[in-house]
């Protein structure tokens, strides 16, 4: 099978290029296996990867124009020749490795941690199963970046628009019955950009390898803002 990967090493290259490799396939082969095969043939090829089972979120790449997590993407689902590029819209450090700093900054900006103001009980804070169910589809995010780097609003305003991944986490804490910072969280999202740059294009939903729905979470935040009359 032919696989064509994006190559750029700032030490030696003035511009990027696509490079072809021939890799042997096997049953159950994932895109990550193909990239590892390329690495075996050519150790100068760099990409991030770790767990190999879709939970660490390291190996998001753009394959045939679509953002995917390579370790859970069977090559049989990709049309040949497979074109593998770095996630779009982020500065390339080398080959498939992109600079995710801004993505992480946006994540930190939504204060992604539980805020509790009441004195803590001796045991657990109680939460009904129904209330806990509200966190399903939110907490599972692996911060791979497939969604935000597929979002045109994030491409245009990465410094101002928080992007789908961060906003999904914002809603994860707003939806948590244990959290006591709803108003501060909503106040911090005011203005035309941080939240409201989302135009429901839904690329994020389309590409999320964990099947999460940031667009819906963003909708919930907007509704809550209206409810609170902010």
């Amino acid at each position: 099978m032919k696989i064509s990967v994006y190559r750029f090493n700032p030490d030696t290259d003035t511009k990027p290029r696509m490079q072809d490799y021939e890799v042997k396939t096997f049953q159950g082969m994932m895109l990550r296996d193909a990239l590892l095969e390329v690495k075996k043939q050519d150790e100068s090829f760099s990409f991030r990867h770790s767990c190999g089972e879709g939970v660490c979120g390291s190996d998001a790449v753009n394959a045939n124009g679509r953002n995917v997590l390579s370790c859970v993407t069977p090559i049989t689902e990709l049309k040949s020749p497979i074109l593998v590029r770095p996630l779009p819209g982020r500065p390339v450090i080398r080959d498939l490795v992109v600079d995710m700093t801004q993505f992480y900054e946006q994540y930190r900006a939504v204060k992604p941690y539980l805020v509790r103001k009441d004195p803590l009980p001796e045991q657990e804070i109680l939460q009904s199963p129904a209330d806990r169910d509200k966190l399903d589809g939110l907490y599972e995010c692996i911060l791979c970046g497939c969604c935000s780097t597929a979002c045109p609003s994030f491409w245009w305003n990465p410094d101002k628009f928080h992007g789908p991944a961060a906003l999904l986490q914002s809603w994860r804490f707003l939806a948590d019955t244990r959290d006591q910072a709803t108003e501060e969280r909503l106040d911090a999202l005011e203005g035309p950009y941080k939240l409201f740059r989302c135009h429901s294009i839904m690329n994020c939903v389309e590409v999320c390898p964990k099947g999460l729905n940031p667009t819906r979470a963003i909708g919930h935040i907007k509704e809550l803002m209206l409810d609170k009359g902010l």
């Binding site: 690495k39 760099s46 990409f47 089972e53 879709g54 939970v55 660490c56 450090i93 692996i142 948590d176």
Partner: protein, 587 residues
């Protein structure tokens, strides 16, 4: 030589559960703490833990920390230190509540309390009925905990060095550890981080085996750094093979599947665990279940064309339970085994999973080594916690759900002890140039050019050798042959060459440095295993089938220099309760 240098009160190497929980204590106490991680923190392998964390909350069935302690001592095949185990089991309860308060989205019971499931080796009343002690967030507990700890560290403003690789520990002129030399992966530039205290929290080393549940990053970096600093590794022969890895691939299928009511069958459809563990059946300890599976396959009762795996059946649980309690493994099974467990069983076989051994520490996370005449000495300023450490709470076999517990309890405690240490030792120490030269030479060694074996090839040979010679069943003959092969590989290691010497994000260079670590740690496993002439816990020898408490109720210590072995007694005296004397271990 002038190196860019940064100074902190504490340096933590590794950003998994142990490192992050330690960092949280330190940052909350307003100490200057640096966390160095070769990957972005939420990519650490804690993220892959599935089933849960043990604590005797008694939310589902009656429970007590004392029963938890008994199960852990028995599970360890009596090799665990009972003071550390008592401490961990007591601390488990406030630790889990603290995590819940920090935001971990635990699954819930109807009364709003944390959901707990049954796991292997758990009992009520010191060996009685099955207990339900494992606190779970569906089957993504590690992910939930790791993300929460990272989030709380954001709140506490911990200083992170993301994608920096720790090369080696450095010492001052008195030989005292004063930080580490690290490599910024993005630029390829070295950086010296000097700190009053250093915590190794680098996780496991499962990558030394070819088939493993461990991530690519689990290369035993901290354990190897300790070895090179002259510190021995303890009980390295005890390596856990998780019974249920996806056959042929190794990805983990949580013990929680069996905790929720799933069971194993062979090609005849027989529920074979009934023969090996009449009472606990599929929820016997992991070493017992792994041996049973390998035996079934060896004796011709395996499934599939080559008869090389067994089946894990859970379709009888129904789609509702599977979707609610085991959504992650349903996803994994569909992707990697092509089987939806709602309709068909999952093909499984044991997979290299967890190092019970590691850097010897006391129960405050302080690295401790023998000082002659049976006494022990703390290595000043050096701490270890999590899978790279050995406290020792797992002994010869770890119980499921005790790993997340170990990293959290001892990570937190190491953090608290470092706070006191830094208060008592407020002055900065400076790295000695001889020590720095030595560490820099480990880096420059990989700048050598010319022909030679590739890192990839050496890595593959090492992993194959470990799999063939240090697996579930080990005989003198198999292990001696393995040791010979390993020695040969180690001799050839200096001939391995990189072809890519570029600086920016050179992952080949990182893999070369990891290869050094894997070689050092792999050797510690092989040598320790070869010497222990008994069967205990995960170390199973057909040529010495019995446990031998007379000769072998003792911890192994492997020193890198001369591949030397030493031993030290097991701490059988708990803190406050009666000791559990060794008994025959049946499930």
């Amino acid at each position: 030589m002038s190196l860019p240098t940064r100074h902190f009160d504490a340096l933590i190497i590794g950003a998994g559960g142990a490192g992050l929980n330690a960092a949280l204590q330190l940052a909350s106490a307003e100490l200057r703490v640096a966390v160095v991680s070769k990957v972005f923190p939420t990519r650490s392998h804690t993220v892959a833990a599935q089933g849960g964390v043990n604590a005797a909350l008694a939310n589902v069935l009656p429970d007590s920390w004392h029963w938890h302690m008994f199960d852990t001592v028995k599970g360890s095949d009596y090799l665990g230190d009972q003071d550390a185990i008592e401490f961990m089991c007591r601390e488990a309860i406030p630790t889990v509540y603290e995590l819940e308060h920090a935001g971990v989205p635990f699954s819930r019971l109807d009364n709003g309390k944390i959901y707990q499931r049954a796991f292997g080796g758990q009992s009520q009343n010191f060996g009685g009925d099955q207990a339900a002690r494992t606190c779970a967030a569906a089957d993504r507990t590690g992910h939930a905990i790791l993300h929460t700890l990272y989030q709380q560290n954001i709140r506490a403003r911990t200083h992170f060095f993301d994608e920096f690789f720790a090369v080696d520990l450095v010492r001052d002129a008195d030989g005292i550890c004063c930080g580490a030399l690290v490599l910024e992966i993005e630029t390829g530039e070295p950086l010296l981080i000097e700190a009053k205290a250093t915590l190794l929290a680098t996780g496991g080393c499962g990558q030394v085996f070819r088939t493993t549940s461990n991530a690519h990053i689990n290369t035993g970096d901290g354990a190897a750094m300790a070895l090179r600093a002259g510190i021995p590794l303890m009980d390295m022969e005890f390596f856990q093979f998780h019974p249920t890895g996806i056959a042929g691939k190794g990805m983990l299928i949580t013990e929680g599947v069996r905790g929720e009511g799933g069971y194993l069958v062979n090609k005849d459809g027989e529920r074979f665990m009934e023969r090996y563990a009449p009472r606990a059946k599929d929820l016997a300890s992991r070493d017992v279940v792994s041996r049973a599976i390998v035996t079934e396959v060896k004796e011709g009762r395996g499934c599939g064309e080559n008869g090389d795996y067994v089946m894990l059946k859970l379709d009888h649980l129904g789609e509702a339970v599977i979707s609610k309690r085991l959504p992650g493994i349903r996803e994994s099974s569909k992707i990697f085994a092509g089987a939806d467990p709602v309709i068909e069983p999952i093909p499984v076989f044991p997979t290299a999973h967890y190092a019970m051994g590691g850097i010897p520490t006391d129960r405050f996370g302080r690295v401790a080594m023998p000082a002659g005449h049976g006494s022990e000495e703390v290595v000043v300023g050096l701490y270890a916690a999590g899978e790279c450490a050995c406290a020792s709470v797992h002994g010869a076999n770890r119980l499921g759900g005790n790993s997340l517990l170990d990293i959290l309890v001892f990570g937190r405690l190491a953090g608290k002890d470092i706070i006191e240490f830094v208060r008592d030792n407020p002055y900065r120490r400076n790295a000695d140039s001889a020590s720095l030269d030595q560490v820099m030479s480990r880096l420059s060694r990989w700048d050598r050019k010319g022909d030679g074996m590739s890192v990839h090839q050496m890595r593959a040979e090492l992993r194959k050798c470990m799999e063939d010679h240090a697996g579930v069943f080990r005989t003198e003959e198999i292990m001696a042959e393995g040791y010979e092969k390993l020695c040969e590989l180690r001799d050839r290691l200096p001939e391995v060459r990189l072809t890519d010497h570029s600086k920016v994000f050179n992952t080949a260079r990182i893999e070369a440095l990891e290869l050094d670590n894997m070689m050092d740690v792999g050797m510690s496993i092989a040598v320790s295993a070869l010497h222990r002439q008994e069967s205990r816990g995960a170390h199973s020898r057909p040529d010495y089938p019995e446990r031998d408490d007379q000769a072998w109720l003792k911890h192994s210590l492997y020193y890198q220099e001369g591949d030397r072995m030493d031993y030290k007694p097991v701490r059988t005296k708990p803190l406050t309760v009666e000791s559990f004397p060794p008994k025959e271990r049946v499930y």
